[in-house]
Symmetry: C2
Subunit: 206 residues, 2 copies
């Protein structure tokens, strides 16, 4: 599968969410590119092109088979697979993420939570017994985990990242407000709320 562009991944995700909403109450067998385009404020041609590029075929006068679209997007985005992840940093945000049950439907499963604060070790949050980051490396190595969710304070992020990478992690979902340096081959997705903030701030400006 060629090089799916970032923008398209985002659109696929939006299509998927919309279809999930659409079929939530009553099952809907078909959906047209125009319907999707209208709600998501994109061009109908765009929708058809995106669908075509992941192998979906529509039917003249009918549109697309809703289930088939959902199923295909799930496969392309990898939601049908099960990804195990460790979470590092059990502050407020880390706690929020441990308690959030919505990841499961995207195939993400947090299997362990770590913290450097020895006072927190052993505590229980949302069913997770917090482990010491001293045990992190061996845990990741043994269980072959490749994904880490980073919800640590800025100061600690880089060092923990280094340890995670050396233990075999190849993808980091970074929620700490810090730029991370990683070796080639390791993927970092940095969620900086500041991007949203800049839009809002700019919008509110008199």
């Amino acid at each position: 599968m060629a090089r799916l562009r970032k923008l398209m991944l985002e659109r696929l995700m939006r299509y998927y969410q919309f279809l999930a909403e659409l079929t939530a109450g009553n099952p809907v067998s078909n959906v047209t590119s125009a319907q999707i385009a209208e709600v998501l404020d994109v061009d109908p041609t765009q929708v058809r092109k995106d669908f075509r590029s992941i192998g979906l075929m529509g039917m003249g006068r009918v549109g697309f088979d809703t289930c088939e679209v959902c199923r295909t997007i799930r496969i392309v985005l990898g939601f049908d697979l099960d990804y195990e992840a460790v979470l590092v940093g059990t502050g407020h945000l880390g706690t929020a993420m441990l308690a959030y049950s919505g990841f499961a439907r995207y195939g993400l499963r947090i299997v362990a939570a770590f913290d450097s604060d020895q006072d927190k070790v052993g505590e229980e949050i949302a069913g997770y017994s917090i482990k010491s980051t001293m045990l992190m490396k061996s845990y990741v190595e043994t269980s072959g985990i490749r994904l880490a969710v980073l919800t640590t304070p800025p100061g600690a992020s880089q060092e923990l990242t280094d340890r995670l990478v050396s233990a075999g992690v190849t993808a980091i979902w970074n929620f700490s407000p810090t730029r991370l340096t990683v070796p080639a081959g390791v993927f970092v997705r940095h969620e900086h709320i500041s991007v949203g903030l800049s839009e809002i701030s700019h919008h509110l400006k008199p």
Copy 2:
């Protein structure tokens, strides 16, 4: 100031963050477009164009005045102004946001926290005494708040949004996993983690 494109806002934010990092330890008086471009993985011409478009002038052989760049970006993005916001929904995520001290440097100040759960009302979180959402409308109206941070469970989001909008809110920072319908003129920034998730998921796919 014309119509700054979303992409550029994002880049301005990244420039700003980088410069903040750069000058954190030791003050650096000048910075070149090439330096910024290298670290942020964009084209140097892009940097110069962006700077030019917000009125920044560089100097041949020297580059740009670091302080001036920071100051100008702050003004363009509106960080120098003070925005008051209410937070609605004091679950784990809401709590994390109330406790987060990083918003202040972007000019955002959360002045009150609301929850619909009467058992929570009166509780204290990070110095905020939780108020009932029944008092929300009058509070927003009286204090002239225009921004709301929404960290509510999916089911409640739309109704609370309607109430916020009717009270005069014109911008909503939506962290609930729900699409919101708002009248024209109201700005919604929807932070769907699912976008990041789709990238990570796609990346980890075998």
